[in-house]
Amino acid sequence: MMAIGLLEFIKNLILWPPVFYMLIAPGLITMMILLIILIWAERKIAGRIQMRYGPLEISPKIGGAIQLLADLMRYMFQEIIIPRTVDTLPYIIAPIAGFVISMLPIAAIPISPIYFPSPMNNSIIVALALTTLPPIFGILAGWSSNNKFSLIGGARESFLVAAYELIIILSAIGAVIIYGSPDFTQAVSAQKDLWGIVLNPISAIAFYVAVLMASGRFPFEIAEAEAEIVMGAYTEYSGLMYGLSMGISYARMFVYNLIFTLLFLGGWYPFFTVPGHTFFSYVIIPATIVIVKALIVSLTMVFTRAIYARLRIDQALGGAWKFWFLFSIMGLLLGGAIVLLQGGI
Protein backbone atom coordinates (compact mmCIF):
# COMPACT_ATOMS: atom_id res chain seq x y z
CA MET A 1 0.00 0.00 0.00
CA MET A 2 2.82 2.28 0.98
CA ALA A 3 4.78 1.43 -2.17
CA ILE A 4 1.76 2.08 -4.40
CA GLY A 5 1.29 5.45 -2.74
CA LEU A 6 4.95 6.27 -3.31
CA LEU A 7 4.76 5.25 -6.98
CA GLU A 8 1.64 7.39 -7.39
CA PHE A 9 3.49 10.29 -5.79
CA ILE A 10 6.49 9.90 -8.11
CA LYS A 11 4.22 9.62 -11.16
CA ASN A 12 2.33 12.76 -10.15
CA LEU A 13 5.59 14.58 -9.49
CA ILE A 14 7.02 13.71 -12.90
CA LEU A 15 3.80 14.62 -14.69
CA TRP A 16 3.56 17.91 -12.84
CA PRO A 17 4.00 20.35 -15.74
CA PRO A 18 7.01 22.36 -14.47
CA VAL A 19 8.96 19.17 -13.67
CA PHE A 20 7.88 17.46 -16.89
CA TYR A 21 8.87 20.46 -18.99
CA MET A 22 12.24 21.10 -17.39
CA LEU A 23 13.29 17.46 -16.97
CA ILE A 24 11.73 15.43 -19.78
CA ALA A 25 10.39 17.32 -22.80
CA PRO A 26 11.62 19.67 -24.10
CA GLY A 27 13.95 19.97 -21.09
CA LEU A 28 17.02 18.10 -19.97
CA ILE A 29 16.52 14.56 -21.32
CA THR A 30 15.14 15.57 -24.73
CA MET A 31 17.78 18.27 -24.95
CA MET A 32 20.59 15.76 -24.29
CA ILE A 33 19.29 13.37 -26.97
CA LEU A 34 18.88 16.23 -29.44
CA LEU A 35 22.37 17.54 -28.64
CA ILE A 36 23.80 14.13 -29.53
CA ILE A 37 21.78 14.01 -32.76
CA LEU A 38 22.61 17.61 -33.70
CA ILE A 39 26.35 17.48 -33.13
CA TRP A 40 26.60 14.13 -34.91
CA ALA A 41 24.52 15.48 -37.80
CA GLU A 42 26.63 18.62 -37.97
CA ARG A 43 29.86 16.65 -38.30
CA LYS A 44 28.33 14.17 -40.71
CA ILE A 45 26.78 16.84 -42.98
CA ALA A 46 30.01 18.84 -43.02
CA GLY A 47 31.88 15.62 -43.86
CA ARG A 48 29.63 14.72 -46.77
CA ILE A 49 29.76 18.21 -48.27
CA GLN A 50 33.53 18.49 -47.80
CA MET A 51 34.02 15.20 -49.72
CA ARG A 52 34.91 12.99 -46.75
CA TYR A 53 33.14 10.67 -44.31
CA GLY A 54 32.93 12.36 -40.92
CA PRO A 55 32.86 10.35 -37.67
CA LEU A 56 32.84 6.64 -38.39
CA GLU A 57 35.39 4.76 -36.31
CA ILE A 58 33.32 4.31 -33.13
CA SER A 59 30.42 2.49 -34.80
CA PRO A 60 30.89 1.95 -38.54
CA LYS A 61 27.57 0.15 -38.98
CA ILE A 62 25.42 3.12 -37.89
CA GLY A 63 27.65 5.81 -39.34
CA GLY A 64 29.44 6.73 -36.11
CA ALA A 65 26.20 7.89 -34.47
CA ILE A 66 27.39 7.26 -30.91
CA GLN A 67 30.58 9.28 -31.41
CA LEU A 68 29.26 12.01 -29.12
CA LEU A 69 28.60 9.50 -26.31
CA ALA A 70 32.24 8.47 -26.56
CA ASP A 71 33.28 12.13 -26.47
CA LEU A 72 31.05 12.69 -23.45
CA MET A 73 32.65 9.75 -21.62
CA ARG A 74 36.07 11.13 -22.41
CA TYR A 75 35.07 14.53 -21.04
CA MET A 76 33.75 12.88 -17.87
CA PHE A 77 36.99 11.08 -17.10
CA GLN A 78 39.22 13.98 -18.06
CA GLU A 79 40.83 16.05 -15.35
CA ILE A 80 39.29 19.47 -14.87
CA ILE A 81 42.27 21.80 -14.80
CA ILE A 82 41.68 25.13 -13.09
CA PRO A 83 44.57 27.48 -13.87
CA ARG A 84 46.13 29.24 -10.87
CA THR A 85 45.60 32.72 -12.28
CA VAL A 86 41.84 32.56 -12.91
CA ASP A 87 39.17 34.13 -10.76
CA THR A 88 37.96 30.78 -9.43
CA LEU A 89 34.34 31.33 -8.41
CA PRO A 90 33.09 33.05 -11.61
CA TYR A 91 35.28 30.69 -13.64
CA ILE A 92 33.45 27.66 -12.21
CA ILE A 93 30.01 29.25 -12.20
CA ALA A 94 30.07 30.56 -15.79
CA PRO A 95 29.62 27.37 -17.89
CA ILE A 96 27.30 25.66 -15.37
CA ALA A 97 25.01 28.67 -15.00
CA GLY A 98 25.27 29.36 -18.71
CA PHE A 99 24.01 25.87 -19.58
CA VAL A 100 21.22 25.88 -17.00
CA ILE A 101 20.05 29.37 -17.91
CA SER A 102 20.16 28.65 -21.62
CA MET A 103 17.42 26.07 -20.92
CA LEU A 104 15.43 28.37 -18.63
CA PRO A 105 13.17 29.86 -21.39
CA ILE A 106 11.53 26.42 -21.57
CA ALA A 107 9.68 27.44 -18.40
CA ALA A 108 7.65 29.83 -20.58
CA ILE A 109 7.42 27.82 -23.81
CA PRO A 110 4.32 25.59 -24.03
CA ILE A 111 4.47 22.56 -26.32
CA SER A 112 0.83 21.58 -25.88
CA PRO A 113 -2.47 23.51 -26.06
CA ILE A 114 -3.65 22.66 -22.54
CA TYR A 115 -0.59 21.43 -20.63
CA PHE A 116 1.45 24.54 -19.71
CA PRO A 117 4.66 24.72 -17.74
CA SER A 118 3.32 27.85 -16.06
CA PRO A 119 0.16 29.66 -17.10
CA MET A 120 0.90 33.23 -18.10
CA ASN A 121 -0.61 35.76 -20.47
CA ASN A 122 2.65 37.16 -21.80
CA SER A 123 4.77 34.05 -22.24
CA ILE A 124 6.41 35.26 -25.49
CA ILE A 125 7.83 38.30 -23.69
CA VAL A 126 9.06 36.18 -20.77
CA ALA A 127 10.65 33.58 -23.04
CA LEU A 128 12.43 36.19 -25.17
CA ALA A 129 13.61 37.98 -22.03
CA LEU A 130 15.04 34.75 -20.62
CA THR A 131 16.89 33.94 -23.85
CA THR A 132 18.91 37.13 -23.48
CA LEU A 133 20.58 35.94 -20.24
CA PRO A 134 23.18 33.28 -21.29
CA PRO A 135 25.59 35.61 -23.19
CA ILE A 136 26.30 37.34 -19.88
CA PHE A 137 27.87 34.12 -18.64
CA GLY A 138 29.93 33.82 -21.80
CA ILE A 139 31.29 37.28 -21.15
CA LEU A 140 31.83 36.34 -17.49
CA ALA A 141 33.82 33.26 -18.53
CA GLY A 142 35.97 35.37 -20.82
CA TRP A 143 36.53 37.95 -18.11
CA SER A 144 37.41 35.53 -15.32
CA SER A 145 39.70 33.24 -17.37
CA ASN A 146 42.60 35.72 -17.38
CA ASN A 147 43.56 34.81 -20.93
CA LYS A 148 43.80 37.07 -23.95
CA PHE A 149 41.87 34.71 -26.23
CA SER A 150 39.08 34.39 -23.67
CA LEU A 151 38.90 38.14 -23.29
CA ILE A 152 38.73 38.68 -27.06
CA GLY A 153 36.03 36.02 -27.29
CA GLY A 154 34.01 37.66 -24.53
CA ALA A 155 34.36 41.07 -26.17
CA ARG A 156 33.22 39.70 -29.54
CA GLU A 157 30.25 38.04 -27.84
CA SER A 158 29.26 41.34 -26.24
CA PHE A 159 29.48 43.12 -29.62
CA LEU A 160 27.27 40.49 -31.21
CA VAL A 161 24.69 40.60 -28.39
CA ALA A 162 24.12 44.28 -29.13
CA ALA A 163 23.52 43.44 -32.79
CA TYR A 164 21.28 40.37 -32.70
CA GLU A 165 19.01 40.87 -29.67
CA LEU A 166 17.25 43.82 -31.29
CA ILE A 167 16.66 41.90 -34.54
CA ILE A 168 15.24 38.90 -32.68
CA ILE A 169 12.88 40.98 -30.57
CA LEU A 170 11.75 43.23 -33.47
CA SER A 171 11.03 40.27 -35.71
CA ALA A 172 9.20 38.47 -32.90
CA ILE A 173 7.07 41.60 -32.43
CA GLY A 174 6.42 41.56 -36.17
CA ALA A 175 4.75 38.19 -35.66
CA VAL A 176 3.10 39.00 -32.33
CA ILE A 177 1.19 42.04 -33.62
CA ILE A 178 -0.43 39.84 -36.26
CA TYR A 179 -1.64 37.33 -33.67
CA GLY A 180 -2.71 40.13 -31.36
CA SER A 181 -1.49 38.45 -28.18
CA PRO A 182 1.89 38.02 -26.43
CA ASP A 183 0.87 34.50 -25.43
CA PHE A 184 2.27 31.43 -27.18
CA THR A 185 -0.96 29.43 -26.93
CA GLN A 186 -3.03 32.12 -28.61
CA ALA A 187 -0.29 32.81 -31.15
CA VAL A 188 -0.27 29.14 -32.17
CA SER A 189 -4.07 28.87 -32.28
CA ALA A 190 -4.08 31.94 -34.57
CA GLN A 191 -1.92 29.94 -37.00
CA LYS A 192 -4.40 27.09 -37.32
CA ASP A 193 -5.09 27.75 -41.02
CA LEU A 194 -2.09 29.78 -42.16
CA TRP A 195 1.40 29.55 -40.68
CA GLY A 196 3.20 32.69 -39.60
CA ILE A 197 6.02 32.16 -42.08
CA VAL A 198 3.49 32.64 -44.90
CA LEU A 199 1.90 35.69 -43.26
CA ASN A 200 5.14 37.46 -42.46
CA PRO A 201 8.10 35.89 -44.27
CA ILE A 202 10.30 38.96 -43.74
CA SER A 203 10.19 38.67 -39.96
CA ALA A 204 10.69 34.91 -40.20
CA ILE A 205 13.87 35.29 -42.27
CA ALA A 206 15.20 38.03 -39.98
CA PHE A 207 14.49 35.87 -36.91
CA TYR A 208 16.23 32.89 -38.54
CA VAL A 209 19.38 34.87 -39.38
CA ALA A 210 19.45 36.49 -35.93
CA VAL A 211 19.23 33.02 -34.34
CA LEU A 212 22.19 31.94 -36.47
CA MET A 213 24.03 34.93 -35.05
CA ALA A 214 22.87 34.33 -31.48
CA SER A 215 23.80 30.68 -31.32
CA GLY A 216 27.15 31.07 -33.09
CA ARG A 217 26.26 29.07 -36.17
CA PHE A 218 28.36 29.38 -39.19
CA PRO A 219 28.64 32.60 -41.01
CA PHE A 220 28.53 34.20 -37.55
CA GLU A 221 30.70 31.76 -35.57
CA ILE A 222 32.78 34.73 -34.48
CA ALA A 223 32.79 34.54 -30.68
CA GLU A 224 34.44 31.12 -30.62
CA ALA A 225 36.34 31.26 -33.88
CA GLU A 226 38.56 28.21 -33.63
CA ALA A 227 41.16 29.28 -36.17
CA GLU A 228 41.61 32.75 -34.69
CA ILE A 229 41.04 32.67 -30.92
CA VAL A 230 41.29 28.99 -29.89
CA MET A 231 37.80 28.54 -28.34
CA GLY A 232 36.81 32.12 -27.59
CA ALA A 233 35.61 32.71 -24.06
CA TYR A 234 35.94 29.02 -23.17
CA THR A 235 39.61 28.59 -24.06
CA GLU A 236 40.77 27.80 -20.52
CA TYR A 237 38.15 25.12 -19.81
CA SER A 238 38.82 21.40 -19.85
CA GLY A 239 36.98 18.18 -19.21
CA LEU A 240 33.29 18.27 -18.40
CA MET A 241 33.30 22.06 -18.07
CA TYR A 242 34.38 22.32 -21.70
CA GLY A 243 31.66 19.84 -22.70
CA LEU A 244 29.07 22.01 -20.95
CA SER A 245 30.35 25.19 -22.54
CA MET A 246 30.23 23.54 -25.97
CA GLY A 247 26.63 22.51 -25.32
CA ILE A 248 25.49 26.05 -24.47
CA SER A 249 25.30 27.28 -28.07
CA TYR A 250 23.43 24.16 -29.19
CA ALA A 251 20.97 24.40 -26.28
CA ARG A 252 20.37 28.07 -27.08
CA MET A 253 19.86 27.27 -30.74
CA PHE A 254 17.29 24.60 -29.89
CA VAL A 255 15.39 26.89 -27.49
CA TYR A 256 15.33 29.67 -30.08
CA ASN A 257 14.06 27.18 -32.63
CA LEU A 258 11.24 26.13 -30.29
CA ILE A 259 10.24 29.82 -30.18
CA PHE A 260 10.63 30.02 -33.98
CA THR A 261 8.42 26.94 -34.39
CA LEU A 262 5.70 28.36 -32.16
CA LEU A 263 5.80 31.84 -33.71
CA PHE A 264 6.23 31.06 -37.41
CA LEU A 265 5.84 27.33 -38.12
CA GLY A 266 2.41 26.71 -36.68
CA GLY A 267 3.47 25.14 -33.37
CA TRP A 268 1.58 21.89 -32.73
CA TYR A 269 -0.53 22.09 -35.89
CA PRO A 270 -1.55 19.82 -37.65
CA PHE A 271 -3.13 18.94 -34.29
CA PHE A 272 -5.08 15.73 -33.92
CA THR A 273 -6.26 13.66 -30.97
CA VAL A 274 -6.57 9.96 -30.31
CA PRO A 275 -9.92 9.39 -28.57
CA GLY A 276 -9.63 7.76 -25.16
CA HIS A 277 -5.97 8.65 -24.55
CA THR A 278 -5.96 12.12 -23.00
CA PHE A 279 -2.28 12.28 -22.01
CA PHE A 280 -1.16 10.76 -25.29
CA SER A 281 -3.18 13.08 -27.49
CA TYR A 282 -2.71 16.31 -25.54
CA VAL A 283 0.94 15.97 -24.47
CA ILE A 284 2.89 13.37 -26.44
CA ILE A 285 1.60 14.11 -29.96
CA PRO A 286 1.84 17.96 -29.85
CA ALA A 287 5.21 17.77 -28.08
CA THR A 288 6.53 15.42 -30.77
CA ILE A 289 5.28 17.70 -33.55
CA VAL A 290 6.85 20.80 -32.01
CA ILE A 291 10.16 19.09 -31.22
CA VAL A 292 10.46 17.53 -34.67
CA LYS A 293 9.80 20.89 -36.33
CA ALA A 294 12.40 22.57 -34.11
CA LEU A 295 14.84 19.75 -34.84
CA ILE A 296 14.42 20.18 -38.59
CA VAL A 297 15.04 23.93 -38.32
CA SER A 298 18.11 23.20 -36.16
CA LEU A 299 19.39 20.77 -38.78
CA THR A 300 19.16 23.47 -41.44
CA MET A 301 21.15 25.69 -39.09
CA VAL A 302 23.96 23.20 -38.53
CA PHE A 303 23.98 22.64 -42.32
CA THR A 304 25.38 26.17 -42.75
CA ARG A 305 28.71 25.06 -41.24
CA ALA A 306 29.55 23.27 -44.46
CA ILE A 307 28.75 26.04 -46.93
CA TYR A 308 29.76 29.33 -45.33
CA ALA A 309 33.05 30.85 -44.33
CA ARG A 310 33.39 32.83 -41.12
CA LEU A 311 32.64 36.55 -41.36
CA ARG A 312 34.85 39.14 -39.74
CA ILE A 313 33.38 40.86 -36.69
CA ASP A 314 32.99 44.17 -38.58
CA GLN A 315 31.27 42.43 -41.49
CA ALA A 316 28.82 40.72 -39.15
CA LEU A 317 28.07 43.87 -37.19
CA GLY A 318 27.77 45.95 -40.37
CA GLY A 319 25.44 43.43 -41.91
CA ALA A 320 23.35 43.24 -38.75
CA TRP A 321 22.96 47.00 -38.26
CA LYS A 322 22.88 48.16 -41.89
CA PHE A 323 20.76 45.41 -43.38
CA TRP A 324 19.07 42.95 -41.00
CA PHE A 325 17.94 45.66 -38.58
CA LEU A 326 16.18 47.53 -41.40
CA PHE A 327 14.90 44.21 -42.72
CA SER A 328 13.30 43.39 -39.35
CA ILE A 329 11.72 46.86 -39.25
CA MET A 330 10.29 46.12 -42.68
CA GLY A 331 8.87 42.91 -41.22
CA LEU A 332 7.32 44.99 -38.42
CA LEU A 333 5.72 47.29 -41.01
CA LEU A 334 4.45 44.27 -42.96
CA GLY A 335 2.90 42.90 -39.75
CA GLY A 336 1.25 46.27 -39.13
CA ALA A 337 -0.05 46.35 -42.71
CA ILE A 338 -1.56 42.88 -42.28
CA VAL A 339 -3.25 43.97 -39.06
CA LEU A 340 -4.68 47.02 -40.85
CA LEU A 341 -5.91 44.90 -43.75
CA GLN A 342 -7.62 42.50 -41.32
CA GLY A 343 -9.39 45.54 -39.86
CA GLY A 344 -7.78 45.36 -36.47
CA ILE A 345 -6.93 48.14 -34.01
Binding site: I45, R48, I49, M51, R52, Y53, L56, P60, F303, A306, I307, Y308
Partner: protein, 171 residues
Protein backbone atom coordinates in the same frame (compact mmCIF):
# COMPACT_ATOMS: atom_id res chain seq x y z
CA UNK B 1 46.63 47.17 -52.44
CA UNK B 2 47.25 47.16 -56.15
CA UNK B 3 46.39 45.18 -59.20
CA UNK B 4 44.07 42.22 -59.09
CA UNK B 5 43.47 42.35 -55.32
CA UNK B 6 42.18 45.93 -55.40
CA UNK B 7 39.85 45.14 -58.28
CA UNK B 8 38.55 42.05 -56.53
CA UNK B 9 37.74 43.80 -53.26
CA UNK B 10 36.00 46.67 -55.05
CA UNK B 11 33.95 44.37 -57.24
CA UNK B 12 32.84 42.32 -54.23
CA UNK B 13 31.71 45.39 -52.35
CA UNK B 14 29.69 46.64 -55.31
CA UNK B 15 27.56 43.52 -55.62
CA UNK B 16 23.87 44.32 -55.63
CA UNK B 17 21.51 42.76 -53.10
CA UNK B 18 19.95 40.57 -55.78
CA UNK B 19 23.29 39.10 -56.86
CA UNK B 20 24.28 38.60 -53.21
CA UNK B 21 21.07 36.67 -52.59
CA UNK B 22 21.73 34.72 -55.78
CA UNK B 23 25.23 33.78 -54.56
CA UNK B 24 23.82 32.62 -51.22
CA UNK B 25 21.22 30.55 -53.03
CA UNK B 26 23.86 28.99 -55.29
CA UNK B 27 26.03 28.09 -52.28
CA UNK B 28 23.11 26.45 -50.50
CA UNK B 29 22.11 24.61 -53.67
CA UNK B 30 25.65 23.28 -54.15
CA UNK B 31 25.75 22.14 -50.52
CA UNK B 32 22.40 20.39 -50.86
CA UNK B 33 23.54 18.70 -54.06
CA UNK B 34 26.70 17.39 -52.39
CA UNK B 35 24.66 16.31 -49.37
CA UNK B 36 22.36 14.17 -51.50
CA UNK B 37 25.03 12.80 -53.86
CA UNK B 38 28.40 12.96 -52.07
CA UNK B 39 31.59 12.97 -54.14
CA UNK B 40 34.07 11.54 -51.67
CA UNK B 41 37.80 11.88 -52.16
CA UNK B 42 38.72 9.84 -49.08
CA UNK B 43 38.14 6.18 -48.32
CA UNK B 44 37.44 4.25 -45.11
CA UNK B 45 41.07 3.19 -44.66
CA UNK B 46 41.11 0.33 -42.18
CA UNK B 47 37.91 -1.14 -43.60
CA UNK B 48 38.95 -0.88 -47.24
CA UNK B 49 42.39 -0.80 -48.82
CA UNK B 50 43.81 0.80 -51.89
CA UNK B 51 45.89 -1.40 -54.18
CA UNK B 52 48.46 0.44 -56.30
CA UNK B 53 49.40 -0.36 -59.90
CA UNK B 54 52.17 -2.70 -61.04
CA UNK B 55 55.64 -1.30 -60.44
CA UNK B 56 54.79 0.16 -57.04
CA UNK B 57 57.73 0.02 -54.63
CA UNK B 58 56.23 -1.77 -51.66
CA UNK B 59 57.75 -4.40 -49.36
CA UNK B 60 60.61 -6.43 -50.80
CA UNK B 61 60.03 -10.19 -51.16
CA UNK B 62 62.67 -12.87 -51.70
CA UNK B 63 62.22 -15.90 -53.93
CA UNK B 64 64.46 -18.39 -52.12
CA UNK B 65 64.77 -20.82 -55.06
CA UNK B 66 66.19 -18.19 -57.42
CA UNK B 67 68.65 -16.63 -54.98
CA UNK B 68 72.30 -17.54 -55.59
CA UNK B 69 73.69 -15.72 -52.54
CA UNK B 70 75.83 -13.26 -54.53
CA UNK B 71 75.49 -10.45 -51.89
CA UNK B 72 75.05 -7.71 -54.51
CA UNK B 73 71.85 -6.51 -52.82
CA UNK B 74 73.63 -6.12 -49.50
CA UNK B 75 76.46 -4.18 -51.18
CA UNK B 76 74.22 -1.75 -53.11
CA UNK B 77 71.84 -1.01 -50.22
CA UNK B 78 72.29 2.74 -49.41
CA UNK B 79 70.67 2.47 -45.98
CA UNK B 80 72.44 -0.74 -44.88
CA UNK B 81 69.06 -2.36 -44.47
CA UNK B 82 69.99 -5.51 -46.36
CA UNK B 83 72.52 -7.93 -44.83
CA UNK B 84 73.61 -11.44 -45.68
CA UNK B 85 73.13 -14.28 -43.23
CA UNK B 86 74.25 -17.87 -43.22
CA UNK B 87 71.33 -20.18 -44.04
CA UNK B 88 71.45 -23.99 -43.88
CA UNK B 89 74.05 -25.83 -46.02
CA UNK B 90 76.38 -22.80 -45.77
CA UNK B 91 74.39 -20.78 -48.28
CA UNK B 92 74.22 -17.00 -47.96
CA UNK B 93 70.76 -15.47 -47.96
CA UNK B 94 69.75 -11.79 -47.59
CA UNK B 95 67.67 -10.48 -44.69
CA UNK B 96 66.10 -7.04 -44.51
CA UNK B 97 65.58 -4.66 -41.63
CA UNK B 98 62.49 -2.61 -42.45
CA UNK B 99 63.41 -0.10 -39.78
CA UNK B 100 66.23 1.07 -42.06
CA UNK B 101 64.82 0.34 -45.51
CA UNK B 102 63.94 3.38 -47.65
CA UNK B 103 62.22 1.34 -50.40
CA UNK B 104 64.56 2.68 -53.09
CA UNK B 105 64.50 -0.56 -55.03
CA UNK B 106 68.24 -0.75 -55.83
CA UNK B 107 68.39 -4.35 -54.56
CA UNK B 108 65.53 -5.35 -56.86
CA UNK B 109 67.21 -3.69 -59.83
CA UNK B 110 70.65 -5.17 -59.24
CA UNK B 111 69.55 -8.74 -58.51
CA UNK B 112 71.01 -10.86 -61.37
CA UNK B 113 68.44 -13.67 -61.09
CA UNK B 114 65.33 -11.56 -60.27
CA UNK B 115 65.06 -13.25 -56.90
CA UNK B 116 63.95 -10.03 -55.21
CA UNK B 117 60.72 -8.23 -56.15
CA UNK B 118 58.48 -5.49 -54.85
CA UNK B 119 55.13 -6.34 -53.34
CA UNK B 120 52.25 -3.94 -53.85
CA UNK B 121 51.48 -3.38 -50.16
CA UNK B 122 53.24 -0.90 -48.00
CA UNK B 123 51.33 -0.64 -44.73
CA UNK B 124 51.84 -2.90 -41.75
CA UNK B 125 51.89 -2.20 -38.04
CA UNK B 126 54.88 -3.47 -36.05
CA UNK B 127 54.47 -3.71 -32.32
CA UNK B 128 58.18 -3.97 -31.52
CA UNK B 129 61.47 -3.22 -33.24
CA UNK B 130 62.62 -6.86 -33.46
CA UNK B 131 59.65 -7.81 -35.61
CA UNK B 132 60.83 -5.38 -38.31
CA UNK B 133 63.76 -7.67 -39.15
CA UNK B 134 62.66 -9.98 -41.98
CA UNK B 135 64.93 -13.00 -41.96
CA UNK B 136 64.68 -16.53 -43.31
CA UNK B 137 61.18 -17.76 -44.18
CA UNK B 138 59.59 -14.50 -43.08
CA UNK B 139 61.31 -12.69 -45.94
CA UNK B 140 59.86 -15.04 -48.56
CA UNK B 141 56.19 -14.46 -47.65
CA UNK B 142 54.42 -12.24 -50.20
CA UNK B 143 52.24 -9.72 -48.28
CA UNK B 144 50.04 -9.30 -51.37
CA UNK B 145 48.72 -12.83 -50.93
CA UNK B 146 47.46 -11.94 -47.43
CA UNK B 147 45.88 -8.76 -48.81
CA UNK B 148 44.13 -10.48 -51.68
CA UNK B 149 42.68 -13.28 -49.58
CA UNK B 150 41.70 -11.10 -46.60
CA UNK B 151 38.22 -9.80 -45.87
CA UNK B 152 38.96 -6.11 -46.55
CA UNK B 153 37.58 -4.53 -49.72
CA UNK B 154 40.15 -3.48 -52.31
CA UNK B 155 40.01 -0.13 -54.06
CA UNK B 156 41.94 1.13 -57.03
CA UNK B 157 42.65 4.84 -57.42
CA UNK B 158 41.88 6.64 -60.67
CA UNK B 159 42.39 10.31 -61.59
CA UNK B 160 39.14 11.91 -62.68
CA UNK B 161 39.01 15.26 -64.47
CA UNK B 162 36.03 16.58 -62.52
CA UNK B 163 36.58 15.15 -59.06
CA UNK B 164 40.32 14.59 -58.75
CA UNK B 165 41.10 11.22 -57.17
CA UNK B 166 38.38 8.58 -57.42
CA UNK B 167 38.47 5.32 -55.47
CA UNK B 168 36.80 2.48 -57.33
CA UNK B 169 36.12 -0.90 -55.70
CA UNK B 170 37.62 -3.81 -57.59
CA UNK B 171 36.55 -6.50 -55.12
Amino acid sequence: MTGIYAEKSVSKRNLSLVSKAKNHFNAILLGAKLLVRPLRITYRYPLVKEIPDEGYRGFIVLDDGKCIGCSLCARICPASAMKMFQAQEKKLRPAINLERCVFCGYCVDICPTNALKHARTHDTVFEEGESMLYIGDKFTVDPDSQLLTGRVRIYRVRVDERRGLVYEPIR
